[in-house]
Amino acid sequence: MIRAENVSFRIGDFHLRDITLDVKPGEYFVLMGPPGSGKTIFLECLCGLKRVDSGRIIIDRRDATRLEPRARAIGYVPQDYALFPHYDVEHNINFGLKRTAVPADTARRKTKEVADLLGIGHLLKRSVGGLSGGERQRVALARAVVVEPKVLLLDEPVSALDEPTRRMVCSELRALQRKLGVSTVHITHNCEEAFSVADRGAVLHQGGLQQTGTLTELFRKPCNEFVARFMSCENICEGEVVADARKPDRTTLKVARTQFVVPGCFEGKVKFIVRPENIRLSRSRADLAEGDTALELRLARATDCGVYVRVELDGAMPLVSTVSHAAFGELRAEVGDTLVATIRRGAVHVLGQA
């Protein structure tokens, strides 16, 4: 439904480089990145608020690269919502309808329908000045969707909200998007927020697209260290290949003061992550399958995180493991005890050469 092809844009020292991504009809796509990564600039390029230096933007099978924003059939919700302060809620919502020659009674009906859908029907005559953050967000959303856009572009739509409201609004956003079936691009710097709404996502860093995929792919198989860290992956490790222990399907690495086996064939230094939930903890060594690694580590800290226990292990290769309360209880472990961390071959994801 919306496709960016090699989009580049330069402003001052910042350079958005060759961004290519494709958002399918009805898909909820989240573009993530830390502040300053170029998310908002890219979204403004999609809106037509910035003229791209090169590349193409296709919206609903039309080349929209040189189209004015009003001709792109988009709904746009900027950061902090940018409501029109000189209009009441109703006039904010029907602003776009009035500009597109929709008959007045149709505009009134559509405005009421959308306002009711978003639960702000009772606010129509209110001034926007006295609205709460959540209400302002809904008004901005209603204003964007009432014109029935082909694509909805949301710039950090929940970042100004408190945590409980943010969670509630995210789930409402997802439900609304499903109901309307409108392709949506949502930008955020919060990967937890992304998980709660997205079908797919991408990570942007310093103007370059790092990786695109489902949220699970981004989380479980990040393509590089930046994506891994952004997706809050733990146990990001680096090791050096032990030359005489190399095999076609796996490589033995020297990591800190121990050896570790990773899948694949590498040379030099390698970065990899070990999934904390796939580290099995025990009091003694069990039989190892080929490619598995067992390490004897000291329990440094155990933190109750509600649904799981976060176990920090210290020693030859410091690791973090997450285990269930039941599994941790069975260990009867105290801080300072030595535990065996068994890492299955599948728990390791190689990020690439360091």
Binding site: R70, Y76, F84, H86
Partner: protein, 275 residues
């Protein structure tokens, strides 16, 4: 770096000293201004007031002051809106210089404006050509508008620029995605949001134009019934020794100026503060 005690929030009895001390300055300033006006009013006799209210030449001068200053305000608005918008929204080479030139009439002595205009129309080829082709300004009523415009338009422009600066560009951007072109976004969003500041600037321009005297004296003279505005009439009355009539006319001007300033407070006071 440690905080000096004067940087720390004032508490207790110090707070009282601060508010009383500062208020004292306010009382002195406002009181002194009012005392000056009351002093004028006490000096003026009933006959002088009657003369000001009934003399045809004062009425003509007042009417000339009003229509020329309103025309100047309108002309200033015609320039202030586009110039203020360009200065607020666009970046171009030499902008700092252009910005300074726009402010220049605010800082140079008003008398210089009259002199400059006189030299332009009498001594330069372009000026003489304009005078020869029907665009007569020297010693003409339309010259009053031109002179007032040169002296006061900068206030309207500066105020309009500040007002446009205050309008969030994202609000305009949203309008562009909702069916508006740039004209539509300007008409439906930017201009209404900048309205108060622009009006405040217009009133300030009017007040400035209404009160100027020196440059008019040089550029258009003081021909009774033709180029004599109220401020010129005051000057002429006091120069022939009719101080009471001059003061009565001055009080009339002060009353009108006060009404204009009160209008500023009601219409666009907030924008004015940012000038």
């Amino acid at each position: 770096m440690g905080r000096r005690s004067s940087d720390a929030p004032v508490r207790g009895w110090r707070s009282g000293i601060l508010s009383v001390g500062f208020s004292l300055f306010l009382v002195v300033f406002v009181g002194a201004t009012l005392l000056l006006i009351i002093g004028d009013a006490l000096y003026v006799s009933g006959d002088a007031v009657k003369t000001v209210l009934t003399a045809p030449y004062i009425r003509q001068a007042l009417w000339l002051s009003i229509w020329t200053s309103v025309a100047t305000m309108a002309l200033s608005l015609v320039f202030a809106v586009p110039v203020g918008y360009v200065l607020s929204r666009y970046r171009f080479p030499g902008q700092v210089i252009v910005d300074a030139v726009v402010d220049l009439p605010i800082v140079f002595p008003p008398l210089v404006a009259g002199l400059t205009l006189l030299v332009f129309f009498n001594q330069t080829g372009v000026g003489r050509w304009m005078e020869a082709h029907g665009m007569k300004f020297v010693f003409q009523p339309q010259g009053i508008v031109l002179c007032q415009f040169v002296v006061s338009a900068s206030y309207a422009i500066r105020s309009a620029k500040s007002a446009f600066d205050e309008v969030d560009r994202r609000v305009e951007n949203v309008a562009l995605t909702l069916g508006c072109g740039h004209w539509g976004a300007f008409a439906h969003v930017t201009l209404p949001l900048a309205k108060n500041g622009i009006i405040a600037g217009a009133i300030l321009t009017w007040a400035r134009a209404f009160g100027i005297f020196g440059p008019l004296q040089i550029f258009v003279g003081s021909f009774r019934g033709r180029t004599e505005v109220l401020s010129t009439a005051i000057f002429l009355e006091q120069s022939v020794g009719r101080i009471e009539v001059a003061l009565a006319a001055a009080l009339l001007m002060i009353g009108i100026a006060l009404a204009a300033l009160l209008a500023i407070r009601f219409v666009g006071g907030r924008a004015l503060v940012k000038l």
